[in-house]
Symmetry: C2
Subunit: 372 residues, 2 copies
Amino acid sequence: MKVGILGGGQLGRMLLQASANYVVETSVLDKESDCPAAHLCHHFVQGDITDFDTVYRFGKGLDAITIEIESVNVDALEKLEAEGVPVYPRPSAIRTIKNKITQKAFYRQHDIPTSEFIITEARKELQEHLSFLPAVHKTGEGGYDGKGVQVLKELKDIDLGFDVPAVLEKMVPIHKEIAVIVAMSNQGEVTLYPPAEMIFDPVLNLLDYQLSPAILPEQVLWKAEAIALKVVKHLNSPGLFAIELFVDKNQEVLVNETAPRVHNSGHHTIEANYSSQYDMLWRIILNYPLGNTDPILPSAIVNLLGAEGYTGKAKYENLEDVLKTDNVFVHLYGKTETKPGRKMGHVTIISKDYQDLAYQANKIKHLLKVIA
Amino acid sequence: MKVGILGGGQLGRMLLQASANYVVETSVLDKESDCPAAHLCHHFVQGDITDFDTVYRFGKGLDAITIEIESVNVDALEKLEAEGVPVYPRPSAIRTIKNKITQKAFYRQHDIPTSEFIITEARKELQEHLSFLPAVHKTGEGGYDGKGVQVLKELKDIDLGFDVPAVLEKMVPIHKEIAVIVAMSNQGEVTLYPPAEMIFDPVLNLLDYQLSPAILPEQVLWKAEAIALKVVKHLNSPGLFAIELFVDKNQEVLVNETAPRVHNSGHHTIEANYSSQYDMLWRIILNYPLGNTDPILPSAIVNLLGAEGYTGKAKYENLEDVLKTDNVFVHLYGKTETKPGRKMGHVTIISKDYQDLAYQANKIKHLLKVIA
């Protein structure tokens, strides 16, 4: 079976690591010939995943196509789907999700709990919504890794808002942020991974560290699972989805965002769960039975981001100390150049003891630095 | 760091899967352009690993070189080593091991317990050693996967012996066959994996199924560890080694054979141990600290061999049933063509319950077939 992946970043890299457990001929499309996934596939094609002709030519003749990033040319994927190439997830699901305005509208349309929101076409409209603050302003298109996201607390912040179509989301009194990964097969069977629980860095808006399974009251777990399933049911597509959720101070559960692909919040599943999110996506694409989402052991993820103040050839400070830790798995993404906040790798810790997970995660966060 | 691998089979494939957790530029040399590892490296070079010039050209300019099979051109590796390219393991260790005559002589020289043996230059010499039977006749060079190995029980079997330099090994009253994987760093630090315990198929002489950690009396475990360490100490080389041992009816431990590389008996370490044998070899080559060999859970391996009577394009019968099993990990090596006895994949089962391991292993052995 010939399968193509749009995007050759770290998610593509880990997807290709998992692909070698099965019989599959892989192709990757990315504009950088030295991207993290370029050397792990049968056929690397250098090109722009947002360009119609490039994506169409790449996908034509493949038996299936998937994505590792949602900023792709959806028109080309729709044409490929219409011509019989299965796309994971369906282009309609990618289209709904990739624009944060249509994504929010989708939740409202299907009565999926999410924060209140207002759509803004231009920055000046924010003046009319001062009573709606504090809120988070997010551009419809092009936001990624904290870009295109701005917290607006009060009048003086309004100049920081975006002067492009965007969505203004009412700030939720967050108790916890969790993520649920859901897999749907071609036959419509679904399975869920246990929720992961995370703390965000207020500056970079990137994952700080994550624990899995999340520690949640049963009622909250049930709500989270029901909501995540409802999202995927209405996206109506086989594939793998990560649903990021807020648990508010009243134990209500609200969808924050959905990713229509393997996701940062699922890295731990490589070592900590029977079927990893990457293995699961291959099972879906190859039309194999869905895998077992049970954890083997609880786990934590520490993301390894380029340190502030360093740009250039990456060096991994104190990597040896981390590699000496007994229950730790290091993943470096092979990116030559570091810059502040760039995702350069992650470390997974597994332990039956949650205190050990927290201790090791904190230790690694303080120890391991990507400098230049 | 630029690292080359001689051989592109399934061991190379799994080594490359593990390499993508670190920053390393990989090259593979193999004569088949569609070998299991060809598409998972930065640079694939098509060529003969037994040819001096090919190996020398491949290795020159690399920062390190390793092997996934011992039938390589050792002269070229010695020249590369002399010119400053580190080779894992050292060519002297490969040379000692790759010929079964020098391997046995090595054990004798260092008082390492092994079965009694006689070196034969030609088949006719076997006549002189009838009182030594039953014994196993093994060719010095070129034996692999049961080829070049012949059991000689009595006079009438002598015609089956080899008419090339070979070693006649006295049959050991085997109670158990076990394997211990030992890693040695550049600094001479060593670590051992828990022994694995196996049952061989009397026809194909290939692994039937394997349990790990082996169930052994403490005294036997200590002997096995001490002997495995002694082998590696006298090979005097950084790298990863698999020492196959017999435990006889008197609980004595004897070395059967050593492999100077990642090994079939260590496949389970991918999922069942903190640092897999593949991860460990990268740590050694990259000069990182040695990994943790502890098991996360006990495990079993079932090898997936081409079924008797089928040659041609591989099909995996009942694969779906196996993929439905909760605690099972399937590894297919991506070989297009199957033939009887060819190593096509393996399945790892993990469970804290040894009875479950044995049950699942037997079930999978009977269920999963590679046909054409």
